[in-house]
Every structure is written in structure tokens, then in C-alpha cells.
């Protein structure tokens, strides 16, 4: 591997100028702090706090990630916040003091704990008012990689997030010599409120690669004029774009690895011969990442904090917002680029894993921007192109009964808030997803996730809850079954019951759906080893199901974890 200066990459200069922001140093800068209080710390890494008692202070802090000074919300003055490392079985106390001017909250994402400790204002507590301290107390009853973030307003997008590692009480089933947190996130110099308003005014505002005339002429040259016209026809009739991959893109976002822009670059060390455990967390507001480390095969050992039957030989995996994946790599001496390209290829996050300090590996060129197929729209009844690289999971496409409107009896409230309903949603566990099919790399799929331990609750579900993820992209409105949170009744679960939740994605983008308080046991193939997840990605035009044992009384949040979808695509879940 060559030793290259940090900015030498395979990406064209134009692309870098356009998308890879972050010319300034990462971390906190002086300048804006009136007292010069933050003059010194140019925080390189989120500090790691260990033990069972933690003190976190939330402040508004000036930062400069891109060359533009901005105000961020930070925890103990760092962005991301400190990593909290605790031990399974211990009683944990976390005192969170809000020194910001607005009410805040911290939610421990993926931790199973009492609902009053879950940190959701309105459901768990009243929030943490300015000047107040809230003391969270709970037992760490699980181990693994998790994260935490504010559940108030858009604070999560401006820096209120950090990592959690819970070491197992017994010997870890994953053998490793060293571990690193790889916390991926997105940062914008625009305020989240501005971004949301822009999306309401022009929903494709951030789309940097809209269809242009030459796309059509190229298609016409390749496939013939008629086929090219046919290809455009349905999209145009639907008034939709097959380039609609992400709502918010590299047009405004800088993509961060452990708080570092691609230009500044995070660096993690290892010794040759070590088994290195990388704990990937997607703490983004809106961005899905496709992660790979050129030159290294990955062994996926856990997802959402839960141990998996190891999946070896993986080149690449997609990580949805709020998901976590732990992988093992065994690098030989040298530098390796941890390359996390945004799902729409509008930019990437970059980190380096290296055996010698300051070495850098080449940064690969980004893949082409993916284009949605009719399959992704859940409207495909079989077109060769979209099916390649997929196997049995598509057999659901055989199930003609899917086309019946109300087989399940669940109604979608139609109206201006819903622009599309998938006519033929398929279970696509073996589909790596748009932009990852047939890319020549070995890409992880949901169909490969198997719990390390046998399924605890072997009961079959007694009933099924079906939710369609619905929206109107051009009006930028989001809902479940056509009903947004403010107009919806809560979902009720009987304490102790086992239910199946089936999600059907009637939109054009991937949605990561997070159920608080209880595990979502993904029906990934083997009922005896259902992987337990806290966040489940539903691909566009797809359906997916998981089982939930309602073993936690109280009121819980259930929502799409894309920050600008969440307020509509949200339900209150009451377990009683």
C-alpha cells in the first residue's frame, strides 16, 4: 500500500471540491466562544469514559468542521460525545446536565431498560429543562455496541450523540485483541430547521444528480429509442424520479468518521497480526452508508449490539441510520481506508486503520449513483435486470395474492399525503439493496443474519400488525398507513404477548425503523436463531417482518429513524 498524502484520492478534483467539505480542522475552535473557554481543545477523539457512573453535560458549542464556524450541540464539549464503556450486570448511573438554552433529553438507543429511563420526552419523562440535571439509573442487562442521542428537536443532527460499549460479564464470544469505535455521521452547516424547510419548499433540493437529457440519449443509444422512452414512461407518468435515493445529500452534508471529515481523517492504530474489532455505528440524521475497507475481508460478528453467527468474507455492508455492526478484521502491516460512501454516492466518510502513524491508503472512487428500479418501487412483477443477484427471497414475487388490496384488512388512508402504494411488495432479505447489486463485491444481506444464541421466545406470534410506510415525497410528508403521528391512535400490545410486525415500504427510500424498549427479532430465515435488532431497515418497495415479545410495560416510541421523517412516521406503542 502506498503512502499517500491525506488528500490524494481516486475521486476527481471536481467531485472533491463539490462534496468533500472539511478543509478546516475538526473539533472545537476558539473564535466564537465569548469567554475563550473552548480556546484550547481541538478535540481529536471523543474521550472514552469507563465505569458505572457517568456525568454528561450538554452545551451549545462553537465548532468548525468545514471552514465555516457554526454552533453545535455537544456533550462534555466533544463531537461526538464521549464513548461510555460499562459492564453488563452493573447498575449504571448517568447524570445528564443540560446547560443549553433549550430542553433536551438523552435516549440510550438499543438498551433494554424501564420506560422512564428511555429518555423520550412526553413518554419517558418531561425532558431535561435548561439548567436541570436528570439522573438515569438502570441495570445494564445486555452487552455489545450501542449509542445514545438526544430525542429532542433536531439536536441529534447538530452533535448530541455518542457511543456506548457494554462489555459482557462473561468472556466475550467474540475474540479480539483490540477494538475501535467507528461512529459515522452527517454534519451540515445549515441548521436542521433550514434543511427541513427547504425540503418542504423543494423536495429534491439536495439531489445533486437529477436526470438530465444526456442520460436519456445515452439510454437511447444503448437500448434503442423506444426502450428508452418506455423506461422513462412510468416514472414520468408517476411524476417521480428514479434518482431519488436520499432526501438530504452531500450537497449540504459532510460525512464524518468519529467526528472527522474526510479531509481531516480519523486514524485508528493496530499491530499486525491482531484481530481488530471495529464497532460501526451509524449516528447520522439522514444518511445510509455503504462501508468497505479495500484490502480487507470483514467477519460480521454482531449487529445492533447482539452477537451473530459470524458471517465471514464480507467485502461491504450497508448500515442504516441508527444500526450498528461489529466486524472483525485481521490486517497485515500497512494503512487501510475505511471507506463509507453515502447511499446516493454524493459523498463519503473516510477513516484510516493503520499499523504505523500518519500512513494513508488510497481512497477508492465512489460507485456510480444508483438508480431505482420498478422492483424498488414494489411494482415490479419481474424484470430481469432488477432481479439479478437475488435468489429465493424473490419467490414472494410468486405470491399473486399480494396484489389483492385488503387481504390483510389493513387500510391505508389515501389522500394528498400518500403518493404511491407498492402493488407488489416483496420480501427481499437476500437483496443487498439499490446500488449494491452485482457490484462484484461480497455484500452482507439481512438474509445472512443469524443470532448467535437460540431464539428465547419460541412461541409463534398470535397476531400480526401491518404497517405501510407511506409518504408524499414532493410535499415532503411522511406517515404510517397514510396517517401521521399527530393524527394516529397509539399501537397497543398486551403485556407478554408475541406479535409479528410486518412493514411494507410504499416509498422510494430506505427507512430504518426503531422500536424502543423491546427487541425486534428479524425473521431473517431461521426461526430458531432470530437475530435481535433495535433498528430494521425496510428497503423501498419491500416488505419485511419481525417478531416482538411485549415484555416491557409502559409507553414507547416507534418510528423511522430518519430525522426528517420521524415526526410523521411515528407511533406511540403502549404495552399494558
Amino acid at each position: 500500500m502506498n503512502k499517500l498524502p491525506p488528500n490524494t484520492s481516486g475521486v476527481s478534483d471536481v467531485a472533491r471540491r463539490q462534496f468533500v467539505k472539511g478543509l478546516g480542522m475538526t473539533g472545537l475552535v476558539a473564535g466564537m466562544a465569548p469567554s475563550g473557554l473552548f480556546a484550547a481543545p481541538n478535540v481529536l477523539d471523543a474521550p472514552m469514559l469507563k465505569g458505572n457512573t457517568f456525568d454528561l453535560t450538554l452545551t451549545e458549542t462553537p465548532v468548525n468542521l468545514t471552514g465555516q464556524p457554526r454552533m453545535a450541540t455537544t456533550i462534555n464539549g466533544s463531537l461526538p460525545g464521549p464513548t461510555l464503556r460499562m459492564k453488563e450486570g452493573e447498575n449504571i448511573t448517568i447524570r445528564v446536565t443540560n446547560k443549553m438554552s433549550v430542553t433536551s433529553s438523552i435516549h440510550w438507543h438499543g438498551l433494554i431498560l424501564p420506560s422512564n429511563m428511555d429518555g423520550v420526552p412526553g413518554l419517558s419523562f418531561a425532558g431535561i429543562k435548561p439548567g436541570e440535571t436528570y439522573t438515569y439509573q438502570f441495570e445494564a442487562i445486555q452487552s455489545g455496541t450501542y449509542w445514545y442521542h438526544s430525542h429532542s428537536g433536531y439536536q441529534e443532527a447538530t452533535g448530541l450523540y455518542g457511543s456506548i460499549i457494554i462489555d459482557p460479564r462473561e468472556k466475550d464470544v467474540v475474540q479480539y485483541d483490540r477494538d475501535h469505535i467507528i461512529l459515522l455521521s452527517d454534519w451540515s452547516d445549515e441548521s436542521p430547521k433550514e434543511i427541513y424547510a427547504k425540503l418542504k419548499k423543494l423536495s429534491h433540493y439536495y439531489n445533486t444528480r437529477e436526470r438530465v437529457l444526456s442520460d436519456f440519449t445515452k439510454e437511447a443509444a444503448a437500448k434503442g429509442f423506444e426502450k428508452a422512452v418506455d423506461g422513462r414512461k412510468m416514472w414520468n407518468e408517476m411524476r417521480m424520479s428514479d434518482r431519488d435515493i436520499s432526501d438530504v445529500t452531500g450537497r449540504t452534508y459532510s460525512f464524518l468518521t468519529n467526528g472527522k471529515t474526510p479531509a481531516s481523517g480519523w486514524e485508528g492504530m493496530f499491530k499486525p497480526g491482531e484481530r481488530v474489532r471495529l464497532r460501526f455505528i451509524n449516528g447520522s440524521a439522514m444518511t445510509f452508508f455503504d462501508v468497505r475497507i479495500p484490502g480487507l475481508k470483514m467477519e460480521v460478528v454482531s449487529s445492533d449490539g447482539q452477537d451473530l453467527r459470524p458471517v465471514k468474507g464480507i467485502d461491504e455492508f450497508r448500515i442504516g441510520v441508527a444500526e450498528t455492526y461489529d466486524v472483525i478484521v485481521e490486517p497485515k502491516a500497512g494503512p487501510y481506508t475505511i471507506f463509507s460512501q453515502a447511499i446516493d454516492r454524493s459523498g463519503y466518510a473516510r477513516g484510516t486503520l493503520t499499523s504505523l502513524p500518519n500512513q494513508r491508503a488510497a481512497v477508492p472512487a465512489m460507485d456510480e449513483m444508483p438508480t431505482l428500479t420498478m422492483n424498488d418501487m414494489g411494482m415490479d412483477h419481474g424484470s430481469m435486470e432488477s432481479m439479478e443477484g437475488m435468489d429465493h427471497s424473490n419467490m414472494a414475487g410468486m405470491d399473486h395474492s399480494n396484489m389483492k388490496p385488503a387481504e390483510s384488512g389493513v387500510k391505508i388512508k389515501m389522500g394528498p399525503q400518500v403518493d404511491m402504494v407498492a402493488t407488489n411488495p416483496q420480501v427481499r432479505l437476500d437483496d443487498p439493496g439499490v446500488g449494491l447489486r452485482n457490484n462484484g463485491r461480497r455484500v452482507l444481506t439481512y438474509g445472512e443474519l443469524r443470532n448467535y444464541y437460540p431464539t428465547k421466545d419460541k412461541r409463534s406470534p398470535s397476531r400480526e400488525i401491518e404497517l405501510h410506510m407511506t409518504g408524499n415525497m414532493s410535499r415532503y410528508m411522511w406517515s404510517f398507513n397514510g396517517v401521521k403521528y399527530n393524527e394516529a391512535k397509539p399501537i397497543g400490545l398486551r403485556y407478554g404477548e408475541r406479535v409479528r410486525i410486518t412493514l411494507i415500504n410504499d416509498t422510494m427510500m430506505n427507512h430504518p425503523v426503531h422500536l424502543h424498549g423491546m427487541w425486534s427479532e428479524l425473521e431473517s430465515g431461521d426461526d430458531n436463531y432470530l437475530p435481535r435488532k433495535h433498528t430494521i431497515v425496510v428497503q423501498p418497495g419491500a416488505k419485511i417482518s419481525y417478531l416482538v415479545t411485549a415484555d416491557a410495560k409502559g409507553q414507547w416510541a416507534y418510528h423511522c429513524h430518519l430525522l426528517f421523517h420521524m415526526k410523521g412516521m411515528f407511533r406511540r406503542v403502549i404495552v399494558a
Binding site: 436526470r211 407518468e237 408517476m238 388490496p405 408524499n472
Partner: protein, 390 residues
Amino acid sequence: MNNKSLATTLLSISIGLALAPTAFAKHKGEVDCKKASNAKAAACIDPAAIAKAARIKAAKARMAKMAKKPAPAMDHSKMKGMDHSKMQDMSPAAKAKAARIKAARARMAKMSKAPAMDHSKMKGMDHSKMPGMDHSKMKGMDHSKMPGMDHSKMAKKIPVSDGSMDVNIPLPYPGAMHMIDDPFVTKVMIDAFEVAQNKAGDNTLTLEADAWLGYDLHKLWLKTDLEMSGGKLEEGEIQALYSRGISPYWDVQAGVRKDFKPVGREWAVVGMKGTAPYLFDIDTSFALGKNGQTNARFNAEYELMLTQKVVLAPELDLSFYGKDDEEAGAGSGFSQASVGLRLGYEVKREFTPYVGLRWSKKFGNTADFARAEGEDVSDTQLVLGIEAWF
């Protein structure tokens, strides 16, 4: 209102408003898409196809059964990529099972080749290309992944609902949850701020600007149109409309319009604004004036992206009046058409300078009134302008 003008008015209403409701129809189509595609399918499936479907169903049921009763000795989690034909150390039960699977596979493969259906009529349901059914690609029957086939659900029917509770339990901490999905937003749009020179050699300055304020489905729209020539305001109007989202891509707009140049006129207005299939932006309205005068308008725009920055935008404007209004220069019937073509460069999303050509022509009595005033009936202008919003 004489017969001619009544007819024109009706015509103009139908042209103006009929274009928008195609969107309704489309939307309705979307609402019932499942139903529709189903009905369509039902209508065109021939007996052979029904028989085929039955065979598929039976095969599916058999496979579901198989999946339901896994051979206890086999660890399916490890079976990935296993070729059953090569399974040496199998229990008799497992062997039998493998044979059944093989048979089922063969049956299904056969089915997938049956050319019984008239696919040509089944738009959007092209079974001929159904690779989901192409079992020739079923490498190694990967059991671990068979739930993709959803056997669990086929095997046992359980009640399905949206999970909603009948009783509404209050929030534990009311007032602490701020789920503002629909904030108050304002948008100001300068659609055209352009200069041109008319035939008389006077510089004309045109401003077409709109603004909306409000929520996702309820907005107040303000629209204004001003034209100055030789430093004098020649034409000017302003509209205030309530805009209600009624379908995914359409708003109904209703309110008032005030013309203050060339003469003062007041109107009640109702219209439709939205995006038609193929992404045409449509704004159409019908106005009723004080003395029974009527005015129908139709505007369509399209944006063709030549590159990510260069936009070619054709535009069409049509206007109809129900009665003569000589003072206002409006003659009954089809009164005016204007066609524009702009080439813009999107400096940023919010700011696009452009050059353009605008051709306009007056017709019928409107043309006569213009001639009487010594004005031109038709005009072609080179325009220079900006489009901006914030």
C-alpha cells in the same frame, strides 16, 4: 352573455379545468391500483392461466408443508449452498424430503415455462419475465433463506391489523413531546423578473412573483403580475388565494384577484395548481368579474434539465374572456396566447438567470381592440431575466 361568449366561456372552463382533473383520475388510479391491477388481471386471465395459478398454489402449499416439517437431524443454518443431489450421508427422511423438493422444483420449473397467458395485455404484470419464478436458478435450494417465501405466514393464518388501540390513553407527560411534522413555512418565488424591448423600442420590465405561507395542505398563495413599459405601469394584478392540497400533486385554489392596470377590475377566482403526469407544472384558473365578465387562464411549464445546472424551460400561456371589455382591452373568446422558451443556468437552487424568447399574439376582438389602440397584435421578444426563490 351572448351565445358565442357563453360557448367560449364553457370551452375555456373545460379546457382550463379539465386538464387538472386528469390528475384526479390518475390519483384515483393509484388509490385503487391494487384493485385495478387485480381486476385487470382477472379480466384477462384465461382458463389455462387459472389452472396454472392453481398448480402454483398447490406447489406452494406442498413447499410450505415441507418447510413446516423440517427433518430434525438437519442443521439448516449450515445448509447454505448445499446441493441436495450430492448429499451422501442423509437420513431416509431427509432423502425423501430432498426428492420431494426436487420434484416440486421440476414441477414449478415446468410451470414457469408454460406459455398459457396472454401477457401482452397485462400491462405491469408481465409474467413472461418473471424470474422470481425461474427455478432453474434455484442453486442448491438454500433452506436457510426460504422464509423469503414467507412460509410462516402461509402455514398459519393469524389475525392482521394496524395495531391501533380503541381507547386513547393520554401521554404520560403531555406537552413535553413536540412532534411538529408540519411547521409554518413561507416561500417567495420570483418566477420571472425580466427585461425586454418591444417593437416600439420601449424597454419593458416584467415581474411575475408568487409567495405562499402556511402548512403542507393549507396555504395562502399570493400572486402578482406586473408589466412596465417606458417607465409606466401598463398591466398589473394581484391575487390572494387559499390553497388546499386535495391529491398528491394538486391543490385547489380559491380567492380574489384585483387588476389595477390597465383598468381596475375585481374578480372571484377558483383554480387548480399542481403537477401533471410527465412533470408538467400546471396553473389554471377561472375568474368571475363583477358584471358577469369571465376570464379563464391556463399556464403550463416544463423544465428540461440539459445538465445539472442548465435548464431549458418551455412555457405556454392561454387566456379567454367571456365578454367584451373594451376598456380593459379584453375581447370575448380566445384572447391571447403566449409561448416562451427560457434557457437558464442554475447558479444555485434558488437563483437562475436566463435568456429567453417570448412570442405572444392577441386574437379576435382582443386583437381588434389592440389595433384600434394602435398596439401590436403580435410580438416576439428577446428577454433577459432571473428566476429566484427563498
